[in-house]
Amino acid sequence: MLYRENGQFKTSYAADQQIFPITQDRWAIIGILVFAFVAVPLLVDEYMFRAILIPFVILSLAALGVNLLVGFCGQITLGAGAFMAVGAYAAYNFHIRIEGMPLLASLLLGGLTSAAVGIVFGIPSLRVRGLYLAVATLAAQFFTDWVFLRVPWFTDYASSGSVSVSNLQVMGWQINNPLNKYLFCLAILTVFALMAKNMTRSAIGRQWMAIRDMDVAAEVIGIRPLFAKLSAFAVSSFFVGTAGALWGFVHLASWEPAAFSVDRSFQLLFMVIIGGLGSIMGSFFGAAFIVILPIALNQLLPAIGDLVGVEISTAGISHAELIIFGGLIIFFLIKEPHGIARLWSTGKEKLRLWPFPH
């Protein structure tokens, strides 16, 4: 009953092209932002920040980047972890080698470096597609793994390849406790998500989607596949690289190449598949599903065990966690192959018509 657009008439194309054309959606998003920036910091303890919220925010940003490439431009990639690594190590090198480099500049330069590397590893996409492209992007993963382990310059000649940063601040604002870290990452995520939404609703996003849906027709109406595909790789790698820099600087503070292994690439790809390909919202759903669910299960299972009076061993819990997690992934993929975002939008469509079925 509350979710209706009756009587909300648009009298200009500008009003019709807003990100949230429905008034209720606008209020909802304002509500979510206020909740995330104001209410969460008041409600949540340090453990929650460190174990759940900060990883969730940063991986959402990375998933957003992967989704721009895989979901919007249709170019499958298994190199996301590599681009996170490039972002992190590039930001690290800018940070330590240039005196007085502001933190934000280091992070963004990390992202830009990653974008440049992304373009290079995107070149195979001009000739190969689908699974073959996935294998080609996997090369990026092995290449960066090798570079950051074997070329000591990138890790500032640290013996184990492990690097660390400290004393993070943005214009005098110390980013030293979990709360400030969370707010910092969240602010960046908000700006990037807005950018992603703007790109997908303007000409560049239409070029990506046209290439994804029907590349011959796209070429015939004057879209250059070279520009569309490589720009998608660049923007995607920029997002993923910035996320990688945040992961290293803010979340881990000291890290080694193993932090960005091929597992991370798979994890990010699963996030966008489960969350919903070609949906900004889906990236958040996917990140939430993959980051929060295992932890929630871990906490929940012993509680359920207590409730029914069964003692579950720690090993048993971690096994059960994997079983349930895998089961849920399969359930979601069968129930809705287009991801959680599609369930969400179907739900919204139903709600608009409720109580009538059509």
Binding site: Q17, M195, A203, G205, R206, R212, D213, M214, A217, G222
Partner: protein, 260 residues
């Protein structure tokens, strides 16, 4: 008729195209005059679609050249063709299925977009202005094709006849000077065919667009086109106005089978 058929705008000279050992087109020459409706007909496999693909650069002919407004192209590519004002529709609808009707038509405006990626990322100044400007143009096309009611529907959900109409709309959104239509009426019922004929004639009449079309419905072809090219097995067997072509013995034998 208000329209005036003008000079030769597109001239194909001795075009030959083969795929490995298969000769799709052999030594074909014909021209298209400005503002006219030019039909290409022929039995299945005659090379009609290949002909269109050569004109807008999807296929590169091994021999021959294309002269477009006095400019010679030995190697056309789709991007150059689009810039030169050639747009087309497809035989088996090649719409962008994941996008809605407005976005599909907006892709047709792509060549006219000037704002860059960063302006678009921030929805800033020129990018925002352009979106509104092109949206207004796209709405004109939507009005012209009478598809207002489906403007926000994802095209994958539309029935076949409407998809064909949206495909035409995307080509029209480019404001082409030459429009290539590959079987615009295939698989349609009588009413849909009538609508499509009306749109084709209106486009030709109101915007002065030159139209090259492939069609199997002979009644339609003979009715709306000014001149007709007939292909058979990749060779040109007839060329002229509809009555001439209808009387051409080669054409009759190609369609009905010769009595030897």
């Amino acid at each position: 008729m208000s329209r005036q058929i003008g000079e030769v705008i597109l001239d194909l000279k001795q075009v030959s195209l083969s795929f490995g050992g298969v000769k799709a087109l052999t030594d074909i020459s014909f021209n298209v005059r400005e503002h006219e409706i030019r039909a290409i007909i022929g039995p299945n496999g005659a090379g009609k679609s290949s002909m269109l693909n050569v004109i807008n650069g999807v296929y590169r002919p091994q021999e021959g050249e294309i002269i477009l407004r006095g400019q010679r192209f030995t190697k056309m590519n789709p991007y150059k063709a689009a810039q030169a004002g050639i747009s087309r529709t497809f035989q088996n609808i090649a719409l962008f299925k994941g996008m809605n009707v407005i976005d599909n038509l907006m892709t047709g405006r792509n060549l006219k977009i000037r704002s860059n990626l960063i302006q678009q990322a921030f929805w800033w100044g020129p990018a925002r202005r352009e979106e509104l400007e092109h949206r207004a143009k796209v709405e004109d096309v939507i009005d012209f094709l009478e598809i207002q009611h489906i403007r926000k529907t994802p095209v994958g959900r539309l029935p076949y006849g409407l998809q064909k109409r949206v495909d035409l709309g995307r080509a029209l959104a480019m404001e082409p000077s030459i429009l290539l239509l590959d079987e615009p009426m295939a698989g349609m019922n009588v009413e849909e065919k009538q609508d499509m004929c009306r749109f084709i004639l209106d486009v030709n009449d109101q915007f002065g667009t030159t139209i090259v079309l492939i069609e199997h419905d002979m009644a339609v072809v003979m009715d709306i086109s000014d001149r007709v090219v007939v292909l058979d097995y990749g060779k040109k067997i007839g060329d002229g106005d509809p009555d001439e072509v209808r009387a051409n013995p080669d054409v009759i034998s190609a369609y009905l089978g010769a009595s030897h």
